[in-house]
Symmetry: D2
């Protein structure tokens, strides 16, 4: 059974955490985005040099570690959304609607063209 | 007023989107993590070469664009969590508890040491 | 037949380029390192979603494009070395000596353990 | 006095290092590009959370460490160029000529527009 937290609840946790430590003064968008990039790199590092079977095995045996890295990325996404006053749920749903329009089922089904063409 | 979606709801949207297009076959953890990194880089690109005032001005005038980039990062976090069967809400809360223990208020207040020391 | 330029020669080209445009004023290490990261991400983007055969084919048919991306990464490495007064040839050779000591042939031969274990 | 090595010489060192260890079998472009990205992230990490003065101080007191990180990035650039049979000196000079044409001195002098406008 998964937890059922909203973004808003998790963002409130972060706001309290940051406020109690008076860390808002250090949080400019550039350094926050650097954190986001560095944590994303740590997720990637887990799967480097592995082939498909190795990845699958690793993902199962290291679920907690990888979960913690994903939580780290999520932390910075939520903190940036706080900082920039972005409503993440709305942005996400708007983006999904764009994706649905961009990749109509009949054309995109089983077709990974969007992936293999190098987009600028 | 912010939307009140749970992770679970947003992850269900992604699962349906991916399933209808039969894209699961392309989704290995390495390439998904690369997507996560590339989207994090796009967030960062927005704030490059800007000083504090320029960032603040930019963040206000480009809120939708930056919000869309954050939604892109979030998309890959949620998709990876789906793929790896990670319960993101739980991982996130576990991580917050670790952070609270690691940075006790009395020591961490107004102190950005954790930031300026280069951690491995 | 490959060109035979030294780092020093290429760094001198960059120094002249930057000086003529009076761009040194914009070049702080953080933003330069962001450029380095963003260009490295562009190299990576070329190989995303491809399996081994697709990569090989792509690398041959897109040699100029990938070469240009590698040149972009090199540009920022050289510019950072200029800025930080790092002697890149020396640093590189010192690092190679470290690697040689770290991975003795008899132990490292055909053994990619260093790759598959998640370090740090 | 700076060393005067050519790329070709440094690439030959890497080729020998890799061959002796029989590591070529692990070197596909995707994983090599991931290494490049991860090492670029390590350079960036050094300058995170620092303002201009702090960066300057840090760059002086940590010149060897930052130099080693730059050497790590360079290692993967050279290895990728080996692997993909890219002539890096030529690509670099071709790119510089493009940049010279793109940013004519009279227009680009002291003008960091190219930097502050977010390019897709």
């Amino acid at each position: 059974m998964h937890d059922q937290n909203t973004f808003e609840e998790l963002q409130a946790m972060i706001r309290a955490f940051v406020k109690e430590r008076d860390w808002n003064q250090f949080h400019n968008p550039k350094d926050l985005s650097i954190s986001l990039s560095l944590e994303a790199a740590e997720v990637l590092e887990h799967f480097q040099w592995k082939n498909y079977e190795e990845m699958e095995r690793y993902a199962k045996s290291h679920k907690d570690e990888v979960g913690e890295e994903l939580a780290d990325v999520l932390y910075w996404v939520l903190l940036l959304a706080n900082k920039l006053d972005v409503d993440l749920s709305s942005s996400f749903k708007a983006k999904m609607l764009k994706n649905i329009a961009k990749y109509p089922v009949e054309k995109a089904k089983g077709n990974h063209k969007k992936y293999t063409e190098h987009a600028e």
